[in-house]
Each structure stands twice: as C-alpha cells, then as structure tokens.
Amino acid sequence: MTRNSTFSVFGILYIMELEKLFKEYYRPLCLYALRFTLDTDAAEDIVQECFTALLSHKADKPVPYLYASVRNRSLMWLRSRKPMEELPEDLPMEDAIDRSMEDSRLWDAVEKLPEQRRKCLVMSKRDCMSYADIAQELGISQNTVRNNISKALEALRKTVPASLDFILLFF
C-alpha cells in the first residue's frame, strides 16, 4: 500500500484512522456478512475485499460505505452460489449496524470464556451434541458439562443484559 509508506504527518494520521476502523468495525462487518453467507471464510474474504476497495477510493463516511459494500458483495456471492435460494430478510442500515455490533460483542464474549466452558457450550449449541457425548469427548462428567454450559451462558447474559434470547435457551 503506497499511501502508508509515505513519511508524512497526514500519512500517519491516515494510518491511525485506518487502524481504528479495523479495530472497531472489522468483526461486526464480518458478522454482518456472515448473516448473508452463513460461511465464515466467505464472510471474511468479503470484508477484506471491501476494506481493500475503501483504500483505493476515498470515502467521506467510511462506515456506511463499508456496510453497504459488504451487503452488496454478500448478495452477489449468494446469487452466484445459491441462485435458487430466497434472499434473507434485509434490515435498514442502522438496525443492521446495531445487530452486527451486538453479534460482535457476543462473539468477543464467547472467545473470552474459559476454554472448557467454551468447548462445552459450542459442542452443545453448534454441533448439537448431547451432554453424554460431550462428557465422553472431553473426559469429564455430564454434571460438569451441564455446569459449564450454564456458567458460560450466565457470562454471556451479562454481555447483553437486555436480550430476551436467553430465556429461549433455558426452556
């Protein structure tokens, strides 16, 4: 990237601004893309392409630009991969940004869970494994698995206090 190698004050301000943009919006944008693609690798590729595009045009409002660009590319990707499928429901931009931020905060929280709790939770919810299977896989008791999962959910609930999602999870 030639613009970054220039030794100027503006160059540095630009780089710092760019870093900040990555830090704040990279993960939310990935999760926004994931809502369309349901494929983490594809989502990440799309977001990186959009950032690359941002570097070559100067955008006055980079955040809306990035969201719009991620949305367009995600829809293009969907159409080329799964032309027969119905497109997912489309939120207004502001709601989409809010939702991606919440997804991102939860993703952070899951990442920060202690390793065993995270493994139990992910095996149960993502891989739909039974407590007995998880207990066997990790070499721990079923009771511990149940305990781990409830503690993990407790921690996640603190991240998003106003959410009703958890009630559904505790049926």
Binding site: N4, L106, V160
Partner: protein, 237 residues
C-alpha cells in the same frame, strides 16, 4: 435469528480477528505503523532538548585586545579587562559565574544570597560584593572580602581589603609585605629570620633601613638589603 443463537451456531475460534484482517489488506505488519508516531515524538523531544540546551548554554564573551576595556556585566557588576584578556559567562544559566583568562579588575554589585564567582586556569574566587583584581594566580583585594581557592571544590582562604594572595603549589596563600621606615637592621633581620625560618646574621647591625618589599624570594630580599646598605648578610639554614 437471535444474536445468541446466531453466534453460537457459527462460532469458530481464531476467525474475524481485525489484526489478521489488517495485515491481509495492508500487506504490512501492524507494528511498523504503530512505531511511527513514537519515532516522530522521539525526534521532536530530541530537537526540543537540543534547542533548550543551546538556549541555556548561550555564552557571552568579553575581550580586550591591545588596550584595557571596561564592561558592565548583566548583573550590574563592572569589570576592567587588561589587554589580551578574555572573560566569558552564560547569562541564562548563571549571570554571576564568569570564567577569566588573563587579568581583570572587578567591582562586584552585591546581590542577596547570590555570590559572584570567577574561575580561571589557576584559581577560583567567590565574593559577595567587592572590588578586586585577579591576574592569573594572583589576587589583590581593594574593598570587601573575597574567598580565594584553587578550584570551586578545594579549600580556600578569606582575603580582605588591602591584602594580596597567590596560589602557591595548589594552595592559596596570602602575600606578606615588609614595610620599614628607618628601622634598625637588627629588627629587620629578626623579622625575616622568623618568617622564612632561617638565621640571618650581619656584622653591621646598627644600620637603619627604609624599604618596602613583598615576601617573595629570600635571596632577592637579602641581595636588595646588601646593595642598599652596603653590608654582607650571612644566611644559615
């Protein structure tokens, strides 16, 4: 789909990391960039320090080439530089600390709690408010009191108005003057014997001497008296 279900359904470790994304897009390690503002800050501090040091270290020089020159120093003290002498000071760091190379007559303004100091190759002088002359390693005080030493840290002596002192070896020492007005030679020889720690003898002790000389070389003094009174003096060490 709710956030929690969505995130848990798709969660994968090690993905969606902004640092990896940044590296992938910008193609350079992040560290290279974050170090740059520090480089600039360090450079700015270095320049500022250098400028400040240069400002503080600003030196004023006073010179007298072939005639004596009078100057008023920043603190109001007067100095008369003898030909071929040079005086320097750092007005922003210490306007009352001067360095002398040569001979100069000082008339120092009194300033509460702030002594005036003169450094030279051969001597160090600290005063409050006086008139004195420093020439190489010789000090002459005309008014007030002066602390006289070899360097700033070495032990010094107080020289008062009318006295002269010199650095001998590495110690300051007052110079004594012998003043005689029609004095019997017997007394003169007794004085000198006592001062120099020798025994001086002369056959014609009735003669009287009128003279004034500084206490320097004993041989020179003896020669002087012998010539003046036409006598012969014996020195016994």
């Amino acid at each position: 789909m709710k956030s929690i279900d969505f995130v848990l359904t798709h969660f994968k470790e090690g993905v969606f990391d902004w640092r990896k994304g940044y590296r992938a897009v910008c193609g350079v390690k992040r560290r290279t960039f974050s170090i740059m503002p520090w480089l600039y800050a360090a450079a700015a501090i270095a320049v500022a320090t250098f400028l400040f040091w240069g400002y503080q270290n600003h030196t004023t020089e006073y010179l007298a080439y072939d005639v004596a020159q009078s100057f008023t120093l920043p603190d109001g003290s007067r100095v008369e530089l003898q030909p071929g002498s040079r005086l320097s000071l750092k007005p922003r760091l210490n306007p009352r600390g001067v360095t002398l190379d040569g001979t100069a007559l000082f008339s120092v303004e009194k300033m509460d709690g702030k002594p005036f100091t003169v450094k030279s190759e051969a001597a160090y002088v600290k005063v409050l408010g006086t008139v004195f002359q420093l020439s190489g390693n010789t000090l002459e005080v005309y008014e007030g009191k002066v602390l006289f030493a070899l360097t700033e840290d070495s032990e010094g002596i107080v020289v008062t108005a009318g006295e002269k002192a010199v650095i001998r070896g590495d110690k300051p020492e007052k110079t004594v003057r012998f003043v005689y007005d029609d004095t019997p030679l017997e007394k003169v020889l007794a004085d000198l014997s006592k001062y120099y720690g020798v025994s001086l003898n002369c056959a014609k002790t009735h003669k009287k001497l009128t003279a004034e000389f500084p206490a320097e070389s004993l041989e020179e003094i003896v020669d002087l008296i012998e010539a003046a009174l036409d006598v012969e003096i014996e020195i016994e060490k």
